[in-house]
């Protein structure tokens, strides 16, 4: 019961977090300054996600093969490879490094 109540509580809170902005603001538009901040939210969030994924808590999760694999994916994309292929090449590079 404790597990199921926890699952329901987290799921409901998650939905409420997403709903809070629209519920409070309604059709009021953000001021221009806030809109400029909002425009940068996607790249900032992605940069944070990459850092967290690669470093982990206390930077204990840093893994050379993983970092190299991500870099290879970036290079493949820069060389005009489609996104999915670039990521697969990166994953293969990391797997290859670990197999050495």
């Amino acid at each position: 019961m404790r597990l199921w109540l926890s699952i329901l509580a987290v799921s409901a809170a998650n939905a409420l977090l997403k709903a809070s902005g629209p519920l409070v603001l309604g059709d009021r538009r953000l001021p221009a300054v806030a809109r400029r901040v909002v425009a940068l939210m996607a790249p900032v969030l992605l940069a944070g996600l990459i850092t967290v994924e690669l470093a982990g808590e206390d930077w204990n999760a840093v893994d050379g093969a993983q970092v190299a694999g991500v870099a290879v994916a970036g290079i493949a994309w820069w060389a005009r490879a489609p996104m999915l292929l670039a990521v697969l090449v990166g994953a293969a590079a990391a797997a290859g490094l670990r197999a050495l």
Binding site: A19, M41, T51, W59, M83
Partner: protein
């Protein structure tokens, strides 16, 4: 562009991140069964919670502390959705309740896929991007619950590269200006610094502070018109 086209465009752009979500779902399912959650709870949680960070947080903390602390931790880790919901609101239509409903498909990758540039979002594309994400997350969890693969196998296959690699490629597509580059660098710096003193979820929330670069007056031409992902590649 028709609603159907926008929906398909969002779904197509999210297929890559969804594949990564599938792999992460397998890991979540396997770890949840190992922690004694049984078979139904992890799958139901993935279906109604649809949040990797909150789900892994609850999985970790529920076994080590009180339920209240575990729930609060999981909710705080997702506080970035509060910020993202505010960001999304200007692009929504209708009354408050309908806007709140439209914000529900919000997940990290779909937020980025739906961004048309300049802080404008396409709600249909947001939904289209979340459909494969949700499906892969639930199916991945189910597979993890049933098969319970060893984490070492996933690492040997390089699966741990998939998520950060997709995020890297998505952020490269978002960097249309020096402001965006500066904001992303600041976000990464804040997240990296805070990882030394706090949990990843809080570091991620604080990273959104990098967007304050946006309060600086604009000195360069307006950002490029939004480009549909993959269409130019």
């Amino acid at each position: 562009m028709s609603v159907r086209d926008e929906l398909l465009l969002g779904a197509r752009a999210a297929i890559g991140p969804a594949a990564a979500t599938f792999a992460l779902g397998v890991t979540f399912g396997a770890e949840a069964v190992a922690a004694g959650w049984g078979h139904a709870a992890p799958v139901v949680f993935s279906a109604i919670g649809i949040s990797g960070s909150a789900q892994f947080s609850l999985l970790t903390t529920l076994s080590t502390g009180t339920a209240l602390v575990a729930i609060l931790s999981a909710v705080l880790i997702n506080a970035r959705y509060l910020v993202m919901g505010v960001a999304l609101n200007d692009s929504l239509r209708g009354g408050r309740l309908w806007r709140a409903v439209q914000a529900q498909p919000l997940v990290d990758a779909s937020f980025v896929v739906a961004h048309r540039g300049g802080g404008r979002f396409d709600v249909v594309r947001l939904l289209g991007a979340t459909i494969p994400q949700w499906s892969c997350w639930v199916l991945g969890t189910l597979l993890g619950v049933l098969l319970q693969p060893e984490p070492e196998l996933m690492e040997q296959l390089g699966v741990d590269v998939v998520f950060p690699a997709f995020f890297l490629l998505l952020v490269l597509e978002e960097l249309h200006s020096l402001r965006a580059l500066g904001a992303a660098a600041l976000g990464a710096l804040v997240a990296g610094g805070l990882l030394l003193v706090t949990e990843p979820g809080y570091a991620l929330l604080a990273a959104t502070a990098g967007a304050v670069v946006g309060v600086l007056p604009e000195r360069e031409p307006a950002e490029r018109e939004p480009v549909d992902r993959e269409e130019t590649r």
